[in-house]
């Protein structure tokens, strides 16, 4: 067991961030240049952090496996970004955003972090506007907002259906500016394959140049991981194909604690799976639920019919029925589970009976088609392109899919993991969303961490460190490098029959079926066991063509799949040991008679942070108790 010191500052919850800043240590501008900071990943969190740190004067090295920092998967976020601006005069405030986020997370997040997030949310909007992000505007020229996924306020700022893209491009451009100024050295097509620790402190990383295959180390005073989530452990998810757990998993194996891996979010409005060939699922913005009505046929017999032949009386608008006050805007986990229930009940529609309808008939009748086209045109186009069906004429089919992971490396209030010098930001850390993330909060958290939190907390930490990196010829660097090379060689030596993608698909299916929207202790344990077997078979029966000294995408994939196979076991183990239902983690054994999640605050009001004990040993489950000073956990009811 390790001691997890959250380092939350003193004071009441709303004062904590101010108190931190009051006592924060500073570094003389002339001295900042002496510190080297490595940032891995250039999504919203990584790019904004790299740019902001470089502006402060640090010597920044940024790494991404894409061909350009602009391609990170943050770009795919459609809906929007929350901020407690209260431009609408509808009663919003920092406190309310804080409370909604805590409640949305089913009271499994650290209060102090979430309050800070709500505080800096307002600065993010200002910053992005100053960068030229083309947010949607009203005719008066002021910023437009809309309500989004589970919020009763209109606090979500957006750029058509491409908010993530525009925010990422803003951060990317800020990064480009620093690259041009020589303050950031950018390494595209370079994948981090390991963390270098010296005496238990993060001192650098080992990377592979994806073009030449060269394995090389980089040393730094601090390493920042902004490498995103692990949804792809489930094979089919809305994440990009390249998203992986490798960076955080390697850090875990070097001592960092992995917190709450079982908190995975299933997004309710995705396009259903068609067949085995499917390589990924496509999400349609949740904003569709603002005007679309979700229903399934009341009778099983109607499932095969064309939706227009199903009479109004035979349609079950189950969200409106079960959750009258939130209706179709019920939070993601609740909507997802309700869809699963309808399909498990045999009332699903489309291929394999895995789908429900999202109907715009009423909205088109009321607002006119033109208005709907204006609001959601691109989403309807996307739906038609993928399915070949016209969403204006017949209801869209939707089904939940894995979308976001709230778990991640454990960090303290200063966003540093338990490995000194290793900072983790964005989706890669566990900190702000508890057991469930609200819509439009991921963009907020990524940018909050990168623009407005890490620059302060990292400076505070570095101020206590003597600047100067180790030479990469240091024994620990060489050892880590050779471990990475050995691992790659093992993969290349495997000359079996199955491809990495086949293993990935198999492992993903195991997780989705056993540790997906509804889990039981038994199913989780079985999944962990099956994954262990799959992992044992992996190196024997895998085949990877080509060599390590060239652009070899099959090798990259195999390396990532290996980590997913290992990580999936931890995910299942964590899910098996959290004997309660909360947020995205729904254990079928723990529910109220009406099917609502049954949380157990007495036993599980804590963060479970797992630490590695060696390849064959069971990892330790360390606990950080959550304290409730500002809010009182209540039953999360959306009825």
């Amino acid at each position: 067991m390790i001691q997890l010191d959250s380092k939350v500052p003193a004071g009441s919850v709303p004062e904590k961030w101010t108190n931190f800043k009051k006592k924060q240590q500073l570094i003389n501008p002339a001295n900042k240049r002496k510190y080297t900071v490595i940032v891995v990943g250039t999504g919203l969190a990584g790019a904004s952090a790299a740019a902001s740190l470089a502006e402060l004067g640090y010597n920044v090295q940024a790494f991404c496996f894409h061909d350009s920092p602009r391609r990170a998967h943050s770009i795919a976020a459609q809906g929007g970004i929350n901020a407690a601006k209260n431009y609408r005069n509808d009663g919003d405030s920092v406190w309310r955003l804080f409370y909604d986020t805590i409640k949305g997370g089913d009271f499994r997040a650290r209060e102090a972090n979430v309050h800070r997030l709500a505080e800096v949310s307002v600065n993010i909007i200002d910053q992005c506007v100053a960068q030229g992000v083309p947010f949607a505007r009203e005719y008066g020229g002021l910023l437009d907002t809309r309500s989004f996924g589970g919020a009763q306020l209109q606090r979500t700022f957006y750029c058509r259906g491409q908010t993530g893209q525009q925010l990422l491009l803003g951060a990317y451009q800020a990064l480009a500016r620093q690259i041009a100024a020589g303050n950031v050295k950018m390494f595209p097509r370079t994948e981090m394959l390991d963390l270098v620790t010296v005496d238990g402190r993060a001192k650098g990383i080992v990377v592979r140049n994806l073009i030449s295959g060269e394995v090389k180390s980089y040393a730094a005073d601090a390493v920042v991981l902004a490498t995103g989530g692990y949804s792809n452990a489930f094979y089919l998810s809305t994440n990009a194909i390249g998203c992986n757990v490798t960076a955080t998993w390697r850090a875990y194996k070097r001592g960092a604690a992995f917190a709450n891996p079982c908190y995975t979010q299933i997004h309710p409005t995705c396009i259903p799976v068609v067949g085995d060939h499917q390589s990924k699922l496509t999400l349609m913005s949740e904003s569709l639920r603002n005007d679309g009505r979700v229903w399934a046929p009341k009778n099983k017999a109607d499932c095969g019919k064309h939706p227009s032949e199903i009479a109004e009386a035979d349609r079950d608008y189950y969200l409106e029925r079960k959750y009258p006050s939130f209706g179709n805007l019920a939070p993601r986990d609740i909507s997802s589970r309700a869809a699963k229930e309808a399909c498990d009940d045999g009332r699903g529609v489309g291929p394999g009976g895995r789908g429900v309808y999202l109907d715009f008939g009423a909205a088109i009748a009321k607002q006119g088609k033109a208005k709907i086209v204006e609001k959601y045109g691109n989403l309807f186009d996307m739906y038609q392109r993928i399915t070949g069906e016209n969403g204006y004429e017949r209801p869209m089919r939707i089904y939940p899919a894995l979308h976001y992971t709230m778990g991640g490396l454990w960090v303290n209030y200063e966003l540093m993991s338990n490995v000194p010098g290793l900072f983790v930001i964005g989706e890669a850390n566990f900190s702000d969303h508890g057991a469930n993330r609200l819509g439009a909060s991921a963009l907020m958290q990524g940018l909050a961490d990168g623009y407005f939190v890490l620059p302060y907390t990292l400076t505070h930490w570095l101020a206590g460190e003597t600047p100067g990196t180790l030479p990469t010829t240091h024994a620990d660097f060489k050892r880590t490098e050779s471990e990475v090379t050995d691992r790659l060689n093992k993969l290349l030596a495997a000359k079996g029959k199955k491809t990495a993608v086949e293993y990935h698909r198999e492992a993903g299916k195991l997780l989705w079926e056993n540790v997906g929207m509804a889990r039981t202790k038994k199913s989780c344990e079985e999944a962990a066991k099956a994954l262990r077997q799959l992992q044992a078979e992996f190196l024997h029966n895998l085949t990877v063509p080509g060599s390590g000294t060239e652009l070899n995408m099959a090798l990259e994939r195999a390396n990532r799949v290996w980590d997913f196979l290992e990580f999936g076991q931890l995910l299942a183990m964590d899910a098996a040991q959290r004997d309660e239902s909360c947020g995205g983690h729904f254990r079928s054994e723990y529910q109220y008679p009406d099917g609502e999640a049954k949380r157990d605050d007495e036993k599980f009001s804590h963060v479970a942070a797992w630490t590695f004990n060696g390849p064959d040993a069971t990892p330790s489950r360390n606990v950080e108790e959550l304290t409730w000073d500002a809010v009182k956990p209540s039953v999360r009811s959306y009825k």
């Binding site: 902001s52 061909d67 030229g132 800020a174 480009a176 500016r177 990009a240 993608v501 085949t543 099959a554």
Partner: protein
């Protein structure tokens, strides 16, 4: 469905390349073009052959990674779509399909269908941003921006940087990409201040990266997955003339170099 694929294979930047023919069957109309290549690649790996290398990531048409010239059209026959959004139902059973990488001096080939598009990053680095540091930004609503301007900025800002414009252009010009960024930032008051320096620098970088000039042929617009209009190139030229006049009249260009 069955298809005969002719794919450009080239083991490395300096190696010789050639079109190689592959037959694929068991393809359904619901598969995306990339999923069809996945099927081929899985088979190749099992046969011990190196799979076709291609860039791809989000597979929902927004990251801009995928880049294939399909039957001589950037991202294939479907308008306003990236390769990953192109579905096989757009083809007829038994079709011959030619797949080639982007071809331009500014996009050196790395392997098979993978090209190096860092030239686009360097174009952005030369001025495709607003010079503001984090912190100290005024309130987001302190400066109203007419909806029409902000909508126009958004039309341009949609660019995903995939490079289809330059790949499709008979002159291998990346002017649509360049003009989209210039058009986005120039339409917003935040970006307007630096516009005349921005166009000068970005155009110079564009040329230095080896891209050709624009003659308004319009292939870029047809290839663009976000259907960005060539009117932004017109706007870029207008700004460029403005920049030249300003520099001639005022002498010193703001911000130096």
């Amino acid at each position: 469905m069955k298809f005969t694929l002719h794919i450009w294979r080239q083991p490395g930047p300096n190696a010789r390349g050639q079109m190689v023919t592959y037959n694929v069957d068991d393809i359904t109309g619901d598969m995306s073009f990339l999923e069809m290549i996945d099927v081929l690649n899985e088979r190749l790996i099992k046969d011990g052959v190196e799979p076709v290398a291609f860039d791809h990531d989000c597979r929902e048409g927004i990251c801009g990674s995928c880049a294939m010239m399909i039957n001589g059209l950037a991202h294939g026959p479907e308008r306003g779509a990236t390769t990953c959004q192109l579905h096989m139902r757009s083809f007829k059973n038994g079709d011959n399909i030619y797949v080639e990488p982007w071809r331009a001096k500014g996009f050196p080939l790395l392997r098979d269908l993978v090209v190096d598009r860092s030239s686009f990053d360097r174009i952005i680095q030369s001025g495709g941003f607003v010079n503001v540091n984090t912190g100290g930004a005024p309130d987001g609503n302190s400066l109203p921006i007419p909806k029409a301007d902000s909508d126009k900025a958004m039309d341009a800002a949609q660019c995903i940087g995939c490079g289809a414009c330059a790949a499709a252009c008979p002159n291998a010009s990346a002017m649509l990409f360049l003009s989209a960024k210039v058009g986005h930032l120039g339409a917003m008051p935040q970006g307007e201040a630096e516009q005349s320096d921005r166009v000068r620098k970005m155009v110079a970088t564009h040329d230095r990266e080896g891209f050709g000039h624009c003659t308004f042929i319009g292939e870029c617009e047809a290839a663009c997955p976000k259907e960005i209009s060539t009117e932004f190139i017109s706007g870029l030229n207008r700004d460029y003339i403005g920049s030249a006049v300003k520099a001639a009249v005022k002498g010193e260009a703001r911000g130096g170099a």
